[in-house]
């Protein structure tokens, strides 16, 4: 039912939205927004110790869900699809294995799933969820950076204006904020570990910024 061109009018009417498996077969390798930086080689050749560690989690499935947090049927559908409830508390996140959900705004969540499962999850949503909502695959538009290490908070203080003290920014908290002159979705995944979701077109700028800002601490690339 994915190919709109061969869908019957009844099928089109049932979905009302076009869903497409956007990932080709395994013979074609995708290129993340930081492909040109060749992080694999940097991980092999670069320093092994430093105050900041960076790892890219690339080619994941990024799905933006917008729905009504007061619609119990929609909330139940999310749980059926992902096995975990939508975080309704502002600035929080929830996880179930490889699936993770970030609260983005009162009616918006960002869901990360393994890259090859994106179409599957999208289709399940279309099957399970009714009412007014939107689900958008934005996997090609962003990438995930994991920053960790003893100096990660000091590094991020040079990048984002948010208070990162663990009293105010505990593990699991997520914010969407300015990152120097770009933006990032920032989630704390450990006492000294953060996840950054950054936009493709700004990825090189943020990569340059991170390299520069971490110079005083030492940057270790992991792959």
């Amino acid at each position: 039912m994915s190919d709109l061109n061969v869908m019957t009018p009844a099928e089109i009417a049932a979905t009302k939205a076009a869903v497409m498996d956007q990932v080709p077969g395994p013979e074609i390798q995708g290129q993340s927004p930081l492909h040109h930086a060749d992080l694999e080689s940097l991980a092999k050749q670069g320093p092994k110790t430093g105050g900041v560690h960076l790892r890219e989690h690339k080619l994941l499935g990024h799905l933006t869900l917008r729905c009504n947090p007061e619609n119990a049927d929609q909330l139940a559908a999310v749980e059926r699809v992902l096995g975990v409830a939508l975080p309704l508390q502002p600035l929080t996140s929830a996880e179930n294995g490889d699936y993770s959900i970030r609260w983005m705004s009162p009616d918006e969540w960002l869901i990360l799933v393994p890259g090859l499962e994106a179409f599957d999850i999208e289709s399940k949503f279309r099957d399970e969820m009714g009412g007014h909502y939107s689900l958008v695959n934005s996997s090609g538009g962003s990438t995930v950076l994991e920053l960790s290490g003893t100096d990660v908070v000091e590094l991020l203080k040079k990048c984002i204006p948010i208070d990162l003290h663990s009293k105010h920014f505990p593990v699991g908290k997520v914010v969407s904020t300015v990152f120097s002159k770009s933006t990032a979705i920032v989630r704390r995944t450990g006492e000294q570990r953060f996840e950054l979701i950054i936009r493709r077109s700004f990825a090189d700028y943020i990569w340059l910024w991170l390299q520069d800002a971490s110079r005083e601490f030492g940057l270790v690339i992991e792959a």
Binding site: Q31, G140, G141
Partner: protein, 1005 residues
């Protein structure tokens, strides 16, 4: 060189660590712990600069941020030049290179010294206003003369090799100043569990306690300071920032701190370290414990080197082990002032006289001086100083009880140093930054912070409380208050016991009388840095300037890099006396950020060089770079502009790219176009309301071009939207308009039509858009897909889902060139793969990459507009000849409908977009050229319109242009003229803007 003024022992310097430094090309020595100023004084350097207006020799007068004279140029190399460094705040390091900034050819022996006397009369008060206003054209000349004469330092001619950081900080309590009050507040807040930042501009904490011989709990005060600092260091949530000036206090307790991380180490920062940081602090509570500056008195020739504020004398002796002279005359209006004489006496040098302006002094310090048998002259004042490059003596005379006039005969005393104390001025600068007006306090003879809306507390000297015991208590109270206000519980702190010295009543006196009237007396300086004298202020008042703000601007008082920290209050007092008002009636000028000058580097942080502004790249950017693209900035995007080959000129590249598209096939990276995913049952209705044309009947699988107008009916964006599903559209916007359009949709949805069920999401970065265009584009695409691309199956303005080069794609058959075109959209992770496969298959079709410039030419050949180039916010769809893109049949309405039907929008003779064909086919009219009907008409010629797009068309073999002409749509075939700046005139015929394939057959094949 020997340090003739250095004491054998004492002070906080390390005599085991000698340092050498250079001042004006000569080498001197000092010690670790010195400031540049203390080391200069130790070496007996008297003259540190020449004054701004009169070119008088000037020496060091103070010991901190308030220093007006010792403002030096630093830097061992051209690249590390730093102007306007206060020697009193610059720590000495080995190899420091400094130079005076004013005085040419040298401060000691200069040409300007003679000219200065001339210059002085050339520059009366109000000089700027009287002299420089007319003629305006001469300002450049005046400015360079002033700059050279005044020598306010210079910026480096080479790039700064250092890096600077901006750092964001957050805390419960931000404490400004680490003197007794600040330290007590910090200790209290820290023990109560608060997140604390405490910053102090000095290299070590302790504030005034570093400069005195005071004891706390019977031990040297420094011991208590050390204990507090050590305890604060144990708290994880306490950040201590020495060498950090809190430079700005902004709304909502946003505080900026300028930290000088490595300025005390070397000329250039160590590898990988920032030279300076700008901390951007958001604090719940701010405690101002900024202390006070001592006020000098205003008397004749009070600027001769050797004249200092009395507290500075004490500080140089106690903290740095430097006695800045051999003989001292001290003039004071209060008991604190006596301390300098006591310290001088302790240092074993001669106190010539203590001149107390009061009939008698009976405070503890005065009594001590009397006990020691020092020569105290009461009821008198130093009315004049002798000497030019160093004080040689003073004239002392009895003055009236109100300080208004000299009543006794003049006695001359020989001395080389004059210290003066007119009391203290609380450092209220930061509290003024947020708009709080200071209040005058008669008891302390000074301004204190006024009422504020900020969550601000004050403690110690800033409140006019100069007793250490009171400062400690106020600091403690501020800490406790901050704790309770932030929801924390009170802390246990036992304050150390401070000595309380018996004080007495100070005299309110600022301006010392002379036997001659002020206007005739030798100059009595109020503001050293801008050379403002008491006489100058009196002139300003006589000339009718009654507001202190006007007096300030007229005289330039407080205009220097020191913001008049020493002189402002004295100046206000002189103005008040001249105006026959009280100081509170006269009022005060207030201060604004920054408290002390801050380097541009610290403000910029890392936002410079390649990090100055983000560069946005599409997924194929690397390919473009590797294939020699020249780039054009479109918003923050780097878009390929054209792809030159070999030694091609730009025009040759464009001609080749244009011909390739029309003859065979070209490819454009259109990924930067904004893309917005629109879902919901009311998506279609919403589109109908934000676009001027109709969307109700657009079937699934179809695309349509839309025009977006503002409420005023003027076009602001355009693009093609496709119907993906009945409830699902994808809208494209211009590259530069993407963010604005998404915001526009959200604003209208959230504020005007929340009842419509629709959601918007940006997918700009998610899709790569590869546009192949040209007669061979179908053949090319068919090599990479099994899908039936025939005109019957895949019509113009359809979109289809298919695999292209193995990658799932949405292909839109739309065209911006007028050729058969396919826009291939694939997930951006696969953009480069498909792009490269197209080139592999496209070799035989001469597949040619083209950039934005060729795109502009090709669309202009077809008369397609570019929003933002052919529109400027003043044209509606009808002006563009695009009435076909407006639907007045919609049941609701649409944004811009009323606007474009206003009287002015429907009047005849509006400027309308037309094509322009030059009479000389080779002449390309410059974009922006103005149209006239008669090129011989007298200037100013009536103007009929202007050119918006103009190119050489290789396909047509002649130039093409689009532009606005008044009533142009009714003037087809008429002639207009474009007179150019070089005197030539281009003649053109008004025509249809569609120059090529007017029936649109090429895109329909």
């Amino acid at each position: 060189m020997t340090q003739q003024n250095r004491l054998q022992s004492g002070g906080r310097i390390d005599r085991s660590k000698p340092l050498t430094f250079t001042y004006n090309g000569k080498q001197f020595s000092g010690f670790q712990g010195d400031t540049l100023a203390s080391a200069m004084l130790a070496n007996g350097i008297d003259v540190v600069g020449r004054s701004f207006k009169y070119s008088r020799p000037r020496g060091i007068v103070a010991c901190g941020a308030e220093e007006p004279n010792a403002v030096l140029q630093l830097g061992a190399t051209e690249a590390t030049q730093v102007p306007n460094v206060r020697a009193t705040q610059q720590e000495l390091f080995n190899g420091l290179v400094s130079a005076s900034t004013n005085g040419w050819p040298s401060v000691d022996n200069d040409v300007m010294g003679l000219m200065g006397k001339v210059g002085g009369s050339m520059m009366p008060p109000g000089f700027y206003y009287k002299t420089f206003m007319f003629p305006q054209s001469l300002w450049d000349t005046y400015e360079s003369m002033i700059r050279k004469a005044a020598g306010l330092g210079r910026s480096p001619l080479e790039s700064d090799p250092d890096t600077y950081d901006n750092v964001n900080q957050h805390c419960d309590v931000m404490i400004v100043g680490a003197g007794p009050a600040g330290l007590a507040a910090a200790l209290t807040a820290a023990r109560g569990g608060a997140r604390v930042i405490i910053a102090d501009e000095q290299n070590e904490f302790g504030g005034s306690l570093l400069n005195t011989k005071e004891t706390l709990d019977g031990k040297p005060a420094a011991e208590w300071v050390n204990a507090v600092v050590a305890e604060l260091a144990t708290f994880e949530d306490v950040m201590m920032l020495p060498r950090s000036t809190v430079n700005g206090y902004h709304d909502h307790n946003f505080v900026t701190i300028h930290e000088r991380c490595t300025d005390h180490l070397a000329d250039i920062a160590p590898v990988n370290q920032a030279r300076q940081k700008l901390h951007r602090v958001r604090a719940k509570w701010v405690v101002l414990a900024t202390g006070a500056h001592e006020r000098p008195l205003v008397f004749s020739n009070n600027d001769v080197p050797g004249c200092m504020v009395s507290n500075a004398v004490s500080t140089y002796i106690n903290r740095y082990g430097v006695v800045p002279g051999n003989e001292l005359v001290l003039m004071t209006t209060n008991d604190y002032g006596y301390q300098a004489a006591l310290d001088w006496d302790d240092a074993g040098r001669k106190v010539v006289a203590i001149v107390d302006t009061r009939a008698s002094g009976c405070g503890a310090r005065a009594e001590e001086a009397r006990k020691r048998g020092l020569n105290i002259i009461t009821g008198s004042a130093v009315i004049e100083v002798q000497g030019s490059k160093r004080v040689s003596g003073v004239s002392v005379a009895a003055i009236s009880a109100d300080g208004g006039k000299v009543i006794g005969s003049v006695t001359k005393l020989k001395t080389d140093t004059v210290a003066s104390s007119g009391g203290w001025s609380p450092v209220i600068h930061l509290s003024s930054h947020t708009g709080s007006r200071p209040t005058w306090d008669d008891k302390i003879v000074g301004f204190v912070p006024g009422p504020t809306v900020q969550k601000q507390l004050t403690a110690g000297g800033i409140n006019g409380q100069y007793d250490t015991a009171v400062a400690l208590k106020q600091g403690f109270d501020a800490g406790q208050k901050a704790l309770t206000e932030t929801g924390l519980s009170a802390a246990e702190v036992v304050l150390p016991k401070a000595e309380t010295l018996k004080s007495d009543t100070p005299m309110t006196l600022f301006h010392i009388p002379h036997i001659k009237p002020t206007s005739a007396a030798p100059k009595q300086f109020v503001d050293y840095q801008t050379d403002v004298t008491a006489a100058g202020i009196e002139v300003a008042c006589r000339e009718g300037y009654e507001s202190i703000e006007h007096v300030k601007r007229y005289t330039a008082m407080g205009f220097g890099t020191d913001q008049g920290k020493l002189g402002n209050i004295n100046g206000m007092a002189v103005a008040a006396k001249a105006l026959n008002k009280t100081i509170p009636e006269t009022g005060t000028t207030i201060f604004r950020p920054n408290y002390t000058p801050i380097s541009f580097g610290a403000i910029a942080g890392r936002n410079c060089g390649s990090l100055f502004d983000p560069e946005r790249y599409s997924a194929m950017h690397k390919w473009h770079v590797e294939h020699g693209a020249k780039f054009e900035d479109v918003g923050q995007w780097k878009r390929p502009w054209y792809f030159p080959q070999g030694n091609e000129t730009m025009q040759e590249s464009l001609d080749r790219e244009c011909l390739a598209v029309r003859d065979s096939v070209g490819i454009l990276d259109a990924s930067t176009l904004g893309k917005i995913d629109v879902q919901g049952k009311d998506a279609r209705e919403f589109l109908g309301r934000v676009y001027s044309n109709a969307w109700a009947k657009l079937a699934v699988g179809k695309c349509r071009y839309g025009l977006m107008c503002g409420e005023d009916g003027m076009v602001f964006d355009d693009g093609v939207s496709a119907c993906l599903g009945d409830n699902h559209f994808v809208m494209t916007t211009t590259t530069g308009g993407a963010a604005r359009v998404l915001e526009w949709l959200e604003i209208y949805h959230q504020t005007e039509w929340p009842e419509l069920e629709v959601y918007f999401n940006t997918v700009t970065d998610h899709w790569s858009t590869l546009t192949i265009s040209g007669p061979n584009s179908r053949k090319l695409l068919s090599e990479l897909t099994d899908y039936d691309l025939s005109n019957d199956n895949f019509k113009f303005m359809d979109w289809k889902q298919m695999k292209v080069a193995g990658v799932p794609a949405r292909v839109f058959r739309i065209s911006f060139t007028g050729e058969l075109s396919f826009e291939i959209n694939v997930q951006a992770n696969y953009g480069t793969h498909v792009w490269e496969k197209l080139f592999e298959a496209g070799k035989k079709y001469n597949l040619t990459p083209y950039g934005t410039e060729t795109m502009h030419i090709l669309r202009a050949e077809k008369g397609f507009i570019i929003a933002g180039q052919d529109t400027d916010g003043s044209v509606h769809p009808y002006d563009l000849g695009m009435g076909w893109c407006v639907s007045n049949q919609k049941p609701f309405s649409y944004i811009g409908k009323r606007g474009m039907n206003r009287e002015d929008c429907v009047r005849p003779n509006r400027k309308q977009l037309v094509g322009l064909k030059t009479k000389d086919p080779k002449a390309v009219i410059p974009e922006g050229a103005q149209a006239v009907l008669d090129p011989k008409a007298p200037i100013p010629m009536p103007m009929e319109g202007h050119v918006t797009s103009s190119y050489w068309s290789a396909n047509l073999g002649h130039s093409i242009a689009m532009g606005f002409i008044k009533g142009g749509l009714d003037k087809m075939g008429e002639t207009v003229f474009y007179p150019l700046a070089d005197g030539t005139v281009i003649e053109a015929e008004i025509c249809s803007p569609i120059f090529l394939d007017p029936k649109g057959e090429r895109q329909n094949v």
